[in-house]
Symmetry: C2
Subunit: 309 residues, 2 copies
Amino acid sequence: MNVATLERVIDVELRHLAAMAAIAEEGSFGRAAARLGYTQSTVSQRIAALERAVGGPVFDRPGGPKPVRLTPLGSVVLGQGRELLAKAEALADAVDRFKAGDGRIDIGTFQSVSNVILPSVVRRLRDEHPGCDIRLSEEESEQPRIGDLDLLFYDGRIDGDVEHLKLLDDPYLLVAGAGTFPDGPVPLERLDGAPMVAWPLTCDQSSMEQAVARSGVRPQIVFRTAVNDAVLSMVRAGMGSAVLPWLAIHGPGVPADDRLSVHELRPSPPPREIHLHWRAGRTHSPLAARAIEIAVEVAAELAPPPAGA
Amino acid sequence: MNVATLERVIDVELRHLAAMAAIAEEGSFGRAAARLGYTQSTVSQRIAALERAVGGPVFDRPGGPKPVRLTPLGSVVLGQGRELLAKAEALADAVDRFKAGDGRIDIGTFQSVSNVILPSVVRRLRDEHPGCDIRLSEEESEQPRIGDLDLLFYDGRIDGDVEHLKLLDDPYLLVAGAGTFPDGPVPLERLDGAPMVAWPLTCDQSSMEQAVARSGVRPQIVFRTAVNDAVLSMVRAGMGSAVLPWLAIHGPGVPADDRLSVHELRPSPPPREIHLHWRAGRTHSPLAARAIEIAVEVAAELAPPPAGA
DNA sequence: GGAAATCATCGCTTTTCACGATGGAGTCGC
DNA sequence: GCGACTCCATCGTGAAAAGCGATGATTTCC
C-alpha cells in the first residue's frame, strides 16, 4: 500500500495478463507457455513481474502435478485482466477494420456542382466497403469551409491550409433554344445585351461572368436560379440562352433534348475547374485515400470534355 | 494487413497509449513528456513504437509550434485506447481495494457450534472494513466440505487438503436441574443409566459420547435436539441432565439461571476442540488473514474455559 | 532572414526479455 | 520408502528495448 506499490500497479502489461489467463485456463505454467509459444521460464518470469506489479502472488503453486490455482488476489487481477484483454482485442479489431477500409468519412459538396461525380464515387465506395459510414454535407454558405471534413468537392479555391487535386476542366458552353443561333461556334460578343438565364453568383459562376465582362460583353441576366433544370426549362421556354458548364448539359441525368442547341463560344471563357480539397498535412484514412482515387477515376471516365475542340 | 501486422497489433502497450493520450491532450510531444516525467525523445520513440504496432502514423506532425493532430487511424486507436486505460485504472483500483481489505470472504460454520464466536468476528471485521462482503454459509450436512470457502469453523477434523488452527478447548460440563447433584464435581459413572438430553450425533457430539461409552457409562438419551435452548429447557423441566460444552452454557446469549446447576465431570471427557480450517497451501486474502487473527483474539477473550480446574 | 519551437534521430547506458540448463519441491507408483 | 516423474524457480547469457542527452531537420513567427 506504499507509494512504490501504487506506482507499480500501472506497470501491469498486456503480456503479463495474457500469460496469466493462459495459465489459469491450462492449470500449468508449462502448458500455458507452450500455448503462447514461449518457454516455461519466460512465462514464469512474466508472472513474477506481474506479481511484483500487483504486490502479491496471483497463483498458488502446490508443486508437483497439481494444477496451480488463483489466489484471491489473482482472482481480482484476472477478473479485471480479462476485461482488459478483451478491450485490447477490440482495439486490434478496430485497427484492422479501419485498415480494411471500414470507418467513417465526411465528404463536403457545395451547390449542385459535384452532383454528377459524387453519386458514382459514393456508389463505388459503398460497393468496395459495405461497412463504411459515408457522410455527405452540403453547406450552402458562400464561402465553403473544410472544417472537419475529410474531403471537399468544390469548383474554386478554398482558403485555409488546404491541399487540392484538380479532377477535371469543365468548359463552358452556350445553350440556346434550337434555331436561336446557327450551328457551330458562336462568337462571344453575340451575347452582349442578350437575355440570359444563369446560376447565382456562387462558386465559379462569378469568375466566369467576370471573364465574360472583361471581354467587353455584357449579357442581360433575366433570371438566376440554382436549380439546373429550371435554367434549362427557361431556355427552352425562350426566356434567353445560358452559359453552362459541360457537365451541367451533358452530365448523367440530363436528357438529350432537341429543343435545345449547344454551341461552343469563341473565345471560350476559362473552364470551370472541379477540385477535390483536403486539409493540408493530414494523413488520409484508407477510406479517404480510396475515395480520392475513385473520384479521379470517375472524373476520367466522364466523356472527356471537349478541351479545345 | 499482412500477418506480421496482425501480430503486431497486440504489441500495443499501456505506456504507448498513455503517452498517446497525453500528447493528444497537450498537443505536443514535449509537453506530454514533461507531464509524464519522461524526456521528449522517449515519448517520441514510444509513439514510433506504437505506430509500428498499429501499422501507421497516429499523429500528423505539422512541424513548428503548431500542435500535433490525430490522424484518422489515431482517432480509432485513441478512442479504444482510452477505454483500455480506463480498464487498467480500474484494475489498479480493484487491486488497491483488495489490498486495503475490501472484497469478499466466504466463511462456513456448522451447527450452532461456532455461533458464539462468529458474530463477534463478523462485527469486528465489518467495523474494520465497512466495504467488505462477508458471506456465511451453514451447511447442515453430516460431513462438512470446505469447498470454495475461505474459512470454515468446525469442531472436528475435516478430510481433504486442509490446514487448521485450534481456537480453543471447550470442556464438557454436566448441566442438571438445581439440586439433582450435590455441588462440586460429579463422578462420570453417576450418569450410567441416567436420563439425559443431548445434541444430535453430529460434530464432536459423537466423539464425546463414544468417550463416555468407553468409560463403561451408558446414559439413557431421552431426547435429542440441535436447539441449545431446547436442551436447557428440558433439563430445567426435569427431563434429565445434559453434558454440554462450556460455551453452550456460559457463552454469550446464555442467561444465568439458578434453576440449573453446573458440575465438572470426573473423569472429564476430552474437550471439544474448536478449529478454524482452510484449504492447504492457499494464499489468504488480506480479509481472510485478518479474520483469522480476529477469530484468535475473540477466542482468547472468551472467559478462559476452566482447563483442568 | 533570423529566432524560436517542435519532432526525429543517433550514440550510449541501463534495464528488461527470452532462452536453455539446472535445481528444489511435490506426487505417484511399485 | 524410494525412485521416477512432473512441475516451477533460478541462474547465466545474449539480444532487444527503454530511456537519456545531444544534435539535426523542418516549420512558424517576427
